[in-house]
Each structure stands twice: as structure tokens, then as C-alpha cells.
Subunit: 317 residues, 2 copies
């Protein structure tokens, strides 16, 4: 049996992980955005380590053979899954499972910071001003978590553990999950609306002026899914006009957010640099997960975390 070629797509600034256990069992080659197209025909497997790259979308179709298997070191697959890859025979897998708990903790951190008015506390500290305020009680408040995959479920579980009454909204109704027909009703009474959905043609722009208009003026909005779920100008206007109490975005339509972007300075908005899932050791976990998948693949066994390329995410619970 010939040794398979693993092509790793990685930015120079973010070197690929140690894949030590694969030494001798695979020939590892590297590509960046500029060299991907030329290196792809020789690859059996493509590891998309640089999940900010959109070069994979442009590489299907293309000249010569394509890898049979593409793995992305991310939960979302919107950056790589174009129509041609979707229509191809290639199997696409993702990093399902790695980010669930860290992202749920990050959402809890944002929700609690907003409930307890922590950004203002830090501002007052900078000014050396002692100003007692009343804050919100989280227990007994209501959250609507949009996205019923493992991340949404972990978010709902963590908020539930903090006493928040949490409704989960997915692509279709199911046990413990509301269908999209309930979304407007649920966000209209939620204290916390959390976006944790994949980016698909169904979810793009779903948080728009109309939906921000449905939310309570006392509500807060958090996005840890993908930037384009949100019409950013509509959110900025809702916050500027105090039609929403506050928000936190960890993901944006264009990342990194440009220094001149209006979102840096919207009142009541916390901006963080797409870091919700990235706890110390995450790169090693992603690498270990890929090695495990590779071993299944090399043994001819079925892969797990297989993306439904039509839907744009891994279905099931």
C-alpha cells in the first residue's frame, strides 16, 4: 500500500499542529492559500488547519484529482463548503465536540458579565470611581439559544445549571428543541438571545432589524456562531437607540474586525476576537482529534463527525 499524502492547509503565522503519531504512516505536505490549488491534486487527505482560509471553496472543482477526505479543524464548515465540494464525492468532517464546553463557558462569562454590569465596573475602576449599582439576577431569567447542535446544547446546559430557563431552537422541532416556527415568539420574551447556529443559507442574516425589533428592550444578544448570522448594522442601531440592553459578539462578518469598524464602539456591545472556544490546549485537542479520525480512515473504518454537505453541518445529536 502506498503511503497516503496528507496536505495541511495552514497560514505561516499559525503553524500546523504536531501530528507525531502519524509519522511514517503518511506523507505530510503543506500548502497556504496561494499554493493550495497546485498541491491539491496530489493529496489523498486535506486537513484545513487554517479555518479562516476560503481557498478551499475556490479549489472545487479544479484540475486533476481532489482529496477523498477533507477535515476542518473547526466546528463551522461555511468557510470551505462551496457548491462544488458539496456536490462532490469527498467526505467532509469537522471538529465537532472540541469547542462545546469552552464555548458554553464563554457564553456564561458574557451573560454573567452583562447581568452584573461588569464592563461598566471596569470603566469606573479606571476612573477610580466608587459607584454602587444594582445588577440583574440570572436565576429565573429566560434564554433562547438558537442552534441545537452540540454547541447550542452545551450552552443551554450551562445556562440551565445557572438557573436560567432556557429554550433551544433548531432547524426542526424535536425532543427538547423548538422548530424555527417558535423563534419569533421565544426571542420576544427572552432576557438572553444566544446565537450558536451554523452559517447556512437558512441562517445567514437571521438576526436582522425585524428580529432585534421583536426582542425586549431589556434583552441582551450574544453571537458565538458565525458573524453573518447577524445583520451587524441592524444590531448597532438597536443598541445605539437603546432598543436592546446590551450585546456581545465574538464573531463578525469580516475577521479580524478592521480598526475603523463601527462595532468597536457601539454602546453596550462587548467585542471579542473569535476566541470563545479556544482554551489552553485547544490546538493539541484539535490535532489529537484529527489523528484519531485519520486512524479510522486509514483502517478503512467509517469516519465520524461527517458533515451533511447539503445541510452544512453534522446532523444528529
Amino acid at each position: 500500500m502506498t503511503i497516503p499524502v496528507l496536505l495541511v492547509l495552514a497560514a505561516d503565522t499559525d503553524p500546523p499542529p504536531r501530528l507525531g503519531r502519524l509519522t511514517g504512516r503518511v506523507r505530510i505536505e503543506y500548502a497556504d492559500d496561494a499554493t493550495l490549488a497546485e498541491r491539491l491534486p496530489g493529496a489523498d487527505v486535506l486537513l484545513v488547519w487554517d479555518f479562516t482560509s476560503r481557498a478551499v471553496r475556490a479549489a472545487w472543482p479544479g484540475r486533476g484529482p481532489r482529496p477523498r477526505w477533507v477535515h476542518t479543524a473547526s466546528a463551522g464548515v461555511d468557510h470551505l463548503l462551496g457548491p462544488d465540494l458539496a456536490a462532490s464525492d469527498a467526505v467532509v468532517t469537522n471538529a465537532r465536540g472540541i469547542f462545546d464546553r469552552p464555548i458554553a463557558e464563554y457564553v456564561a462569562a458574557l451573560v454573567l458579565a452583562l447581568a452584573k454590569d461588569l464592563p461598566r465596573t471596569l470603566e469606573l475602576q479606571r476612573e477610580r470611581t466608587w459607584l454602587h449599582r444594582e445588577s440583574r439576577r440570572l436565576a429565573g431569567s429566560r434564554a433562547c439559544v438558537v442552534g441545537s447542535g452540540p454547541i447550542g446544547r452545551a450552552v443551554a446546559g450551562t445556562l440551565g445549571a445557572l438557573g436560567v430557563i432556557t429554550a433551544l431552537v433548531g432547524r426542526a422541532a424535536g425532543p427538547g428543541v423548538h422548530g424555527p416556527e417558535d423563534l419569533d415568539r421565544l426571542i420576544a420574551r427572552a432576557d438572553w438571545v444566544i446565537a450558536a447556529a451554523p452559517l447556512t443559507e437558512r441562517t445567514r442574516g437571521m438576526f436582522d432589524a425585524r428580529r432585534f425589533g421583536l426582542m425586549l428592550p431589556s434583552a441582551h444578544f450574544v453571537n458565538v456562531g458565525r458573524g453573518p448570522l447577524v445583520v451587524e448594522d441592524a444590531l448597532a442601531e438597536a443598541l445605539e437607540q437603546r432598543r436592546l440592553a446590551g450585546a456581545a459578539l465574538d464573531v463578525f462578518g469580516t475577521e479580524p474586525l478592521a480598526p475603523g469598524h463601527r462595532l468597536w464602539r457601539v454602546p453596550g456591545l462587548i467585542v471579542s476576537p473569535h476566541m470563545s472556544g479556544d482554551t489552553v490546549g485547544w490546538r493539541d485537542e484539535l490535532a489529537a482529534q484529527f489523528v484519531e479520525l485519520f486512524e479510522r480512515w486509514a483502517a478503512g473504518g467509517p469516519l465520524v463527525n461527517v458533515v451533511d454537505k447539503r445541510r452544512g453541518y453534522v446532523p444528529g445529536h
Copy 2:
């Protein structure tokens, strides 16, 4: 039966609560720090609404009769319980129960903010700088909560719900509670050390240079108990010398913290203005709790939340 006199000690800036249900059943009089001594002899009951006042300490002993019952709208009683009140026949009750859950949420907010490096994120946002960092995972980390009363237990419960392995330290070992003999060992391996103890002669200054020296350089310290539990200069030095990763104080030796105080600007320290328990509606809850206690007292029934004046807190679980 004569109508009892209820004396309410309240600052002008913080008017007393609505005690509507007591109308006609009690004669309500008001005092501030300056007038307390002269009004006290005519009172049957003293409600210490202004829990920052230390005037009660000075009022025992004093000339003329003292109230038979003193209630403080706070969890801690250190501000009122001097040796003379402690030795008297007066019953002292506190606001046990009102602050537990809010303070536990506040501690979770601080711990998560520190784990997820939120203060730095807000700083970077101000500078419009996109800088991805790795953050800490809370689940699986270790906390040591010092104080095994209802607040400490609520803190431990909430951290436990977030997956933190939590040890509780009290005045004496008991079911689920470590005794003080375990304190040094526990804080030496904790990622999070949370002070939620009452201020007594045993706890004053317990977090000193020696104890900060025992903690891990990666550990964080949080105080939501009373300021004097901590030797503030020792904490400031530990943080300045990076012998501790970070800290958050909601309580201080002197409150409000003076504008020139060094603690406002210690690196890695979050300063908040004694607000951990004060969620929207807290004043109404404190008033309702007092009304309920008053009804027990007026009916001749036993009071609850009775402080052990020798120990300085309400004993038992």
C-alpha cells in the same frame, strides 16, 4: 398592648424601605448615626438598614433601655456587633438567605471573567485591537471556598454546576466541609480561592502575605466576604510581583475605596463597589424579610436568623 416602637437606622441618602404591612401595628421612628444614641432608649426594635453605619457598636452600653431585638439588613454583623451588644440580652438577627444566590452568581461572573480574560478583551476593544488569545477552561479546575455559611455553600454549588472541583472550608470540619486545619493545603492547589467568610476575630487578616505565598502563581483570589479578611497590601504586592495571576475584590477595609487608594490600579485586580449581593429588588426583599421576622416577633414566636453573638454569625446550615 401598646404599639411597639421600631427605630430604623438609615442614611439620608438611602431612605428606608416600604414597610407597608406594618402600618398601624408599629410606630416607626428614624435615626441616623448622629441621632441614634438619643432615640435608642425609646425603641423596642432596631432595624439597621444602613449596614455601613458603625453607630450601633457605640450605642451599647448606653444610657436608658436598649431595644430587645436588633435586625440588620445584611449578612455580616461585624459593623454592629461590639462586645457590649454581644454581652447584652438583645437578640440580633440578620438577612441570612437574601444574598446567597446573587453573591454566588457574582462570584461566577468574576471567576469566568478572569478565566476568559475579559478585562483584557475590554481593554483591547477600547484600543480597537483584535488580538486572539487562548483562555482558561473552567471545568475541571479547582476552587477553595472559605466560609461555609449559606453564601459560601451557594458559591460552591454554583461553581460546582460549572464543573469546578470545589472544596469548602469552615470554622470546623463537618459533612462536606473542611476544617481550618486543611486551609493551607487546599489553597496551595486551588486555581480559585474565594473568600466568603464572616468577619470575626478568627478570620480578620486571614489572607495575608504567608497565605498568598502558598497559592499557585496561576491562581486567582476573589473576596466577597468582608474587606478586613484580606491584608490588602499583601495582595497588592503578590499581584504586582506576579506571584498571583489575578484577583477580584468586592469588599475593602475602608468603603468606599478612596480615589487615591492603590488598589484601584493594581495589575490583574478587578475592583467593584460592594455590590455582589445587590440584584434588582434586593431592597424590597430585605424589607419583606424584616416584615416577616417582625410578625413572628410580634406574635411572640421564636425568631429565625438569630446570630450567635459570641461567634459573630448565624450558626448551622
